[in-house]
């Protein structure tokens, strides 16, 4: 796999604040990589550094094999799509798409050809003579993507492009972006705080916190084998259950309830305070629970009907546990049910460091 974007030992300081610290990242050609994290984690900052809109304090950036650390954004072979679309308001869509090319003195036929191709891919041909104020949010975002498209570049950068849209539009455009990637096969680096966008769009996700990449892996791995407590809690809705307990040998004692961790793929040998993470959808009830290696009777406290399924709240060893049940199953507060799960599918974390054991 050839590397499209390579970031080596990148650091960025704002005064005394270390926003990004010694970051390394390799993005393969044609890969869709998502930078995911809460506000302030540095994902947008990293993207702006890659774009050349921010000066780095240390480190290097390579795009398509070339060292672009000191290059202007226009020379880096990138196109960028912004959260607020940033369309030039006084120009028509057509002018918005072509302005940069005309400034670069591209021949008219070439400009027209590129605009036509972009408009066709994004289905915005009928909008070419309209001004941004006359367009809907979704149309504006397509024009913004078009502006990046006409630049005919290898790498596309997306800075939370769907955050300004309402939920329905967000879903629609998300699919469009995925389709776009499948058609164009360009490298795409995408910043978001929305885990659904990340999970559905990414080839790999880089989850960031405080300027450091916590885990870089494909969505499946991140979901099932999170590398630390932060990642585990960030991905998944409703979030993963965390059961605090004492780890000894191959068993974790959760407030008096021992849970054997046979078949769990331990990466280290550790005893002591630990946290067992179990996803709500991995908890079975009733008949299904009997097939599980670990079972326990528990009383339901709260029932939240979601429509597609139901989320119920109960306690295990005095600690909160949520689980998912099919919508048809009848559940009531106070009802006693048998719940069970396979600890091998869960995640065990060192309670002190938060890292996966």
């Amino acid at each position: 796999m050839t590397t499209s974007v390579s970031i080596k030992d990148l650091s960025l300081n704002f005064g005394n604040v270390k926003v990004l610290e010694s970051l390394d990242l390799e993005v393969a050609q044609g890969e869709f990589i998502v930078l995911l994290g809460p506000s302030g984690c540095g994902k947008s900052t990293l993207l702006n550094c890659i774009a050349g809109l921010l000066d780095v304090s240390d480190g290097q950036i390579f795009i398509s094999g070339k060292n672009v650390t000191w290059d202007e954004p226009k020379d880096r072979g990138i196109g960028m799509v912004f959260q607020s679309y940033a369309l030039y308001p006084q120009m028509t869509v057509e002018k918005n798409l072509s302005f940069g090319l005309r400034v670069a003195r591209m021949p008219k036929e070439e400009v027209e050809a590129r605009v036509k191709r972009a408009a066709e891919i994004l289905q915005i041909e009928p909008l070419l003579q309209r001004k941004p104020v006359e367009l809907s949010g979704g149309q504006r975002q397509r024009v913004a993507i078009g502006r990046a498209l006409v630049r005919d570049v290898d790498v596309f950068l997306f800075d939370e492009p769907l955050s300004n849209l309402d939920a329905k539009l967000r879903n629609d455009l998300r699919i469009e972006i995925k389709r776009l990637h499948q058609r164009l096969k360009n490298t795409m680096i995408y910043v978001t705080h929305d885990q659904i966008e990340a999970m559905t769009l990414a080839d790999r996700i880089a989850i960031m916190k405080n300027g450091v990449i916590q885990q870089l892996a494909d969505p499946h791995t991140i979901y099932n084998k999170p590398t630390n407590l932060f990642v585990a809690g960030f991905i998944g809705s409703p979030s993963m259950n965390f059961l605090k307990g004492d780890l000894n040998g191959g068993t974790i004692n959760v407030s008096g309830t021992p849970i054997p961790l046979t078949n769990y793929a331990f990466e280290q040998q550790l005893n002591g305070a630990a946290v067992l993470g179990v996803r709500p959808e991995h908890v079975a009830i009733g008949e299904e629970a009997r097939k599980m290696p670990f079972q326990v009777e528990s009383e339901i406290e709260i029932v939240e009907p979601m429509g597609a399924d139901t989320v119920a709240w109960t306690k295990l060893g005095g600690q909160q546990l949520t689980f998912r049940a099919a919508a048809e199953v009848h559940l009531e507060p106070g009802q006693k049910v048998l719940i069970g799960f396979d600890p091998a599918r869960g995640s065990v974390f060192n309670a002190e460091t938060g890292n996966r054991i």
Partner: protein, 318 residues
């Protein structure tokens, strides 16, 4: 418990607030305390801005001399007005002064704002320097520049003493150039404000527009000219209206700098009016001139309404 009039409950047509999407406020037809509290406003609006204007217009149709009378003489004051050289020159002067001040002012103000926008060190210091003249009275402004324009002891002589013996810089001495001296003094006083307004407009431009332009490879100066400037219509309009209203009523600086001279080369309509209701004891003429001064105001207000109406039409189309 006091009855709270929930705006939503009252469907009265007077809720411009709700209709326009603004926060609705309580509104009654007859709010005694409020009316009492705003009596000065009522008195001013009606007493001054309506009644006084009406009287000015009425007296412009009379033969009033030292004291106002109601001896109506039709349009004769206006006829005389437009046959008077002094008046016609005043109008020409204010027009030239206005156009020059506003064009130079807006361009210079915009340039200053653009340069100030470049993340300058000591931005605050520069801004203080550009704005402090506005804190000085126009009388002070006029007097200082009059002194600096002095042919024998001012800038002209100082530069000549430095060696450039044919240097000419005494606009107030000659009739053809006196207006330019006035323009310069006025600009010195007011450009800072134009700059402040433009800078505020510049800073209101979304940072992401700048990023997009950078990624597109558009050079900074082109971004300012083709992208940012068209986005600043609001600030430009504000600066324009502010300067325009100041121009029409220009008075203090002329009195201080040139007293209308030399000759009548810097006569202004405002001075014409004041002179005729004081020294020249011709109230009728003065009122006619004053009424003429109302015309550009009506034009500007008309333009503003046209602009707003047009904008509403465009917004309704989308």
């Amino acid at each position: 418990m006091t009855q709270i009039a929930e705006p939503g409950e009252r469907a009265a047509p007077g809720f411009a607030g709700t209709a326009a999407g603004r926060k609705p406020r309580t509104r009654r037809k007859f709010n005694i305390q409020s009316i009492l509290g705003t009596t000065p406003m009522i008195a001013t609006a009606i007493g001054v801005f309506v009644i006084c204007i009406i009287f000015s217009i009425i007296w412009s149709f009379t033969s009033s001399k030292l004291f106002p009378n109601f001896n109506f003489v039709g349009l004769s004051q206006y006829e005389r007005l437009w046959r008077t050289d002094r008046w016609i020159i005043s109008v020409q002067n204010v027009f030239v002064y206005g156009v020059l001040s506003m064009i130079v002012g807006m361009v210079f103000g915009y340039l200053l704002a653009v340069f100030m926008d470049q993340r300058i060190r000591q931005e605050d210091l520069f801004r203080s320097i550009f704005l402090y003249p506005f804190a000085m009275s126009l009388v002070v402004t006029g007097l200082v520049w009059q002194w600096m324009f002095d042919p024998n002891l001012g800038i002209q002589s100082a530069v000549r003493q430095l060696g450039w013996t044919s240097f000419e810089f005494a606009p107030l001495v000659k009739q053809e150039t006196a207006l330019y001296g006035l323009v310069l003094g006025g600009l010195w006083n007011g450009v800072g404000v134009t700059m402040a307004i433009m800078l505020a407009g510049l800073r209101g431009v979304d940072a992401e527009i700048w990023k997009a332009a950078k990624v597109d490879g558009i050079p900074t100066w082109k971004t300012y000219l083709f992208i940012v400037l068209p986005m600043m219509k609001g600030a430009i309009a504000t600066a324009f209206i502010l300067s325009a209203t100041g121009v029409v009523r220009v008075f203090d600086i002329v009195i201080a700098m040139t007293q209308g001279g030399p000759g009548v080369s810097t006569q202004m309509p405002a001075i014409y009016v004041i002179q005729h209701i004081t020294d020249r004891a011709n109230v009728g003429q003065g009122m006619a001139a004053a009424t003429m001064m109302l015309v550009p105001v009506m034009v500007i207000i008309g333009l503003q309404y046209l602009f707003q109406w047009n904008a509403k039409r465009k917004a309704a189309r989308t």
